[in-house]
């Protein structure tokens, strides 16, 4: 089995290694393993799955318990936060949607045979991966501010999308390259153009390979979206801070914020695992 490292864990190094796949006849020997971020609990992995259950239901129970038995201040905090949760989702979903588009083009650009396109895509990936996300968010926010006035939330989304586009681009690239080259050959030998082969043969197989790491990046982005609280976007973290600065219940506020983040990320990691199982059942 080939292992493709997560784009993120390789930092600014040039290539995520893609080793030759297992059995080329099956066309699905590759699996992308992600080393950072939440574990994705498939039912097959018993230990991880039960750890997931304990954390998820433990965090939920803790939230409910605090809500019921320690209403002051926890009930007030929990009633204060939902706006922030919605904002966090808004930023995350919009960012990942834009990042997927940017990432797909970046990934295709990275494997393009046209030199100039390849070069541009590679430089984009190298530059973005070399700058911390928080710095990028500040930078894009103020750089945009010099040109046009955009709402804070839009600036945040653009910054997140530009950053994550680079990471997703590497995942797409590794995913596409993990498809055995015989697939492209078989397709063009039948008279398909490279574009048709890419769309009908390579990308559908890539989706299955990249889904777990993409899900992981989504969850990582959900967590990183807390950085946008710096830009006056009232996300979950910022709502927590707003509450705490009024009441000085810092410990209590951040306890709830942390638990809510945990419940969300664990929920999504299970969802990603379910999607993966589904795809694996259908049409292998």
């Amino acid at each position: 089995m080939a292992e493709v490292e997560s784009a993120k864990s390789t930092g600014v190094s040039k290539e995520a290694p893609v080793s030759p796949r297992g059995d080329p006849r099956l066309g699905r020997g590759a699996r992308i393993e992600v080393t950072d971020g939440a574990l994705i609990p498939g039912r097959g992995e018993k230990a991880t799955f039960s750890a997931w259950r304990i954390s998820f239901f433990g965090a939920l129970a803790l939230l409910v318990g605090l809500f019921l038995f320690k209403p002051h201040p926890y009930r007030d905090i929990m009633l204060f936060l939902p706006d922030g949760i919605l904002k966090t989702f808004e930023v995350t979903v919009m960012s990942i949607a834009c990042a997927l588009i940017i990432g797909l083009f970046a990934g295709l650009g990275r494997i393009s045979r046209v030199r100039i396109i390849n070069r541009i895509a590679t430089i984009y990936v190298e530059v973005i991966r070399g700058i911390p996300l928080l710095v990028q968010i500040f930078y894009i926010y103020y750089a945009l501010g010099k040109l046009i006035q955009v709402p804070d939330i839009l600036a945040a989304v653009i910054a997140m999308a530009v950053c994550y586009g680079a990471y997703l681009g590497e995942i797409f690239r590794a995913g596409i390259q993990s498809i055995h080259k015989g697939q492209m050959e078989a397709a063009i030998a039948l008279g398909l153009t490279r574009g048709q082969a890419l769309r009908r043969i390579i990308l559908p197989q890539t989706v299955r390979v990249v889904l777990p790491p993409l899900g992981n990046e989504f969850i990582a982005l959900l967590k990183d979206s807390s950085l946008v609280s710096i830009l006056a976007v009232s996300d979950l973290l910022r709502r927590g801070r707003e509450y705490a600065s009024k009441t000085f219940d810092y410990f209590e506020a951040f306890t709830v914020v942390a638990l809510v983040y945990l419940v969300m990320t664990l929920f999504f990691s299970r969802l990603v695992a379910l999607m993966e199982e589904r795809m694996n059942q259908r049409g292998r």
């Binding site: 080329p24 006849r25 066309g27 078989a186 039948l190 048709q196």
Partner: protein, 243 residues
């Protein structure tokens, strides 16, 4: 009769490695050519140059009136007419057996879904896999996968079929079912170039045997002649190993 495939002074280098040295070969319509030779002798490379999966370094290749090696000619049109079967099958794992066959007719020839399905079913029946229509490649045996791959290539109604070691990746008990399909195809008059060491196929269907070594075509002739009384010393030595 005009040649269906004509290879003239073909040379192919991979860096410093010479894969083909001045190989010339012509194949008549309906002729079945078996290409044998040690591994690394350029057999597969020659085949892969015919539909330009590899580019020749020098020389010319023609398929009927179309010059494959001319960059101005429409290589996709040529590829439609040249079917290829690979050693590793290369079926599309995300598509069913039927979808594997119908994809190219639908996408390239733009025939309707219903027509494509009828065509696909006919071809599956022809390779004896009618009941496998909705099955994905992974659930098929190697022999069955290769038969689907043959049907997939036939779906474009090619004028020539190229077989690149079609049985090398198969377990022995599955070789026959694939060879049977190929012999059937040969009897129906398909022009075929087959890289293989299957003597059973040579006896049953081949009109011509070509022996290659070190990128060169050393000897060619009817199978009886080449196998029974090879003229060249290198051919004799090679045949001693495989017979």
């Amino acid at each position: 009769m005009a040649d269906r495939v004509r290879i003239v002074n073909a040379c192919k280098y991979f860096g410093k490695v010479v894969a083909l040295r001045n190989a010339s070969l012509s194949v008549k319509p309906g002729e079945v050519v078996l290409v044998i030779g040690p591994s690394g002798s350029g057999k597969s490379t020659m085949l892969r140059c015919i539909n330009r999966l590899e580019h020749l370094s020098s020389g010319e290749i023609w398929v009927d009136e179309d010059k494959v090696t001319d960059h101005a000619s429409d290589i996709r049109k040529i590829r439609e007419e040249v079917g290829m079967v690979f050693q590793s099958f290369n079926l599309f794992p995300h598509l069913t057996a039927l979808e594997n066959i119908t994809l190219a007719p639908r996408v390239v020839k733009k025939i309707s879904d219903t027509d494509a399905r009828d065509l696909g079913r006919k071809l599956l029946a022809r390779v004896g896999l009618s009941e496998k229509e909705t099955v994905f490649p992974e659930q098929l045996s190697g022999g069955q996968q290769q038969r689907v791959a043959i049907a997939r290539a036939l779906a474009m109604s090619p004028k020539v079929m190229l077989f690149d070691e079609p049985t090398s990746a198969l377990d022995p008990e599955m070789i026959k079912e694939v060879l049977d399909v190929m012999v059937e195809l040969a009897k129906e008059g398909m022009t075929m170039l087959v890289v293989s060491h299957e003597m059973g196929f040579a006896r049953a269907a081949a009109h011509t045997v070509v022996f290659m070594d070190n990128g060169e075509i050393i000897e060619r002739g009817p199978p009886e002649a080449v196998f029974a009384a090879p003229k060249e010393e290198r051919t004799q030595r090679f045949l001693k190993h495989i017979l």
